[in-house]
């Protein structure tokens, strides 16, 4: 019997199958690599750069790097923690992330990853951008202040729901999430809470109305245990405090 191919992640042997990335192989082996725009159910996007790892001495995104036999991968090293912290800090100052006023606080992947990488304060100068809130839909609210452009809702709505409700408009610092209708209002779309797009947001951008405080602050997904133990909010069932439909 031939041995399964493997690479080394922080000194640990991680087996993989053909076609897997460093991220999916690590996930299968139960090793956490912090990430935001990655969701195992979707084609990797490689845009948030939080999953940067050192591969044979070169820094690459774990979600888009194919696993290969014999690679030496490092993830939990101070140099990378510092880069990840910097990315999180930039994401926080670029939007308006007011955790004390956000219904998603405590079950927010952005916040949980920031805790994981040891971010105490945003460090950089805040942009305080002026972005709208769209409450036109009867069941969901869109707060664009919290969008980090991971495009998971874009991918979910286009590839799974077949509705193509979300899109990113503009380039560079002008890039922003929009609703794909002439009015730009979510209420004018066939968006439903049963859509995949309603389950995948890693921040509090897509919120379900009327249920914000069903779970009290202090008893939420990431209030007691870190994301490396609990998992992504989109992968945890609703009955356990996540967003995945039971």
């Amino acid at each position: 019997m031939s041995e399964r191919p493997h690479f080394t992640l922080d000194g640990r042997r991680v087996p993989f199958q053909d076609g897997q990335t460093l991220m999916t192989a690590a996930l299968d082996a139960g090793v956490y690599i912090p990430h935001l725009c990655f969701n195992p159910e979707f084609t990797p996007h490689g845009s948030c750069r939080v999953c940067l790892v050192e591969v044979n001495g070169r820094v690459q995104a774990a979600c888009t790097t194919p696993a290969a036999a014999g690679l030496i991968v490092q993830s939990e090293i101070e140099e990378l923690r510092e880069i990840r912290r910097g990315i999180l800090q930039m994401l926080f100052v670029e939007g308006n992330h007011v955790c004390p006023a956000c219904e998603k606080s405590g079950a927010c992947q952005l916040q949980a990853v920031a805790y994981y990488v040891g971010m105490l304060a945003p460090h950089y100068t805040h942009f305080y951008p002026r972005r709208p809130v769209d409450a036109s839909h009867p069941e969901a609210v869109l707060d664009f202040n919290r969008c980090i452009l991971c495009e998971l809702c874009v991918r979910a709505s286009r590839d799974v729901d077949g509705k193509n409700i979300f899109a990113v408009q503009g380039r560079g610092i002008q890039a922003r999430l929009v609703v794909n209708t002439p009015s730009g209002q979510l209420g004018a779309t066939p968006f439903s809470l049963h859509d995949k797009a309603a389950q995948v947001c890693p921040t509090g951008t897509i919120l379900i109305k009327h249920r914000g405080y069903e779970t009290p602050i202090g008893q939420r997904l990431y209030d007691r245990k870190p994301i490396s133990v609990v998992g992504d909010v989109a992968q945890v069932s609703e009955s356990r405090g996540g967003r995945r439909h039971d």
Partner: protein, 180 residues
Amino acid sequence: MIEPRLKVATCSLAGCFGCHMSLLDLDERLFDLAERVELDRSPLTDIKELGECDIGLIEGGVCNAENVHVLMEFRARCKVLIAIGACALNGGIPAMRNQFALKDCLEESYLRGIGLVDPQIPNDPEIPLLLDQVHPVHEVVKIDYFLPGCPPSADTIWTFVSQLLSGQAVALSYTQIHYD
């Protein structure tokens, strides 16, 4: 020989005094703290003039000219300056007004508010002028330590203060770091 107590000053800028309430939540541990520190200017002592201090605790962001003045004075007189709570760290709830023009905020409150008699925007010279936006304190002065939370719990403050006073590296546990 009794060691001299460290001088500590505190203030609340554009905050709600919630972080100070959390500090008082130290409860019986305040006796231990009082053996090691002496309060200088603070809402708890009502001393108005800031002396030379070892540690300064800043609650709240800066929303007006007086906040900026106080913050710069704290930086000049405190060896170690600590930003405590969400508002000091990122502007917090008061910074939500940054979504609107200052003029609109003032008019909404003082001209268009419900039940106003003789509506006018206050402009007494004793009232500090508002900044056009609320800012976290690190955008104005150098901050040595950040303690997140809205507010940080008394346990978090106690862990932090104990480690700081004993000269250890500050290391908070997972449940002690919260942005909410």
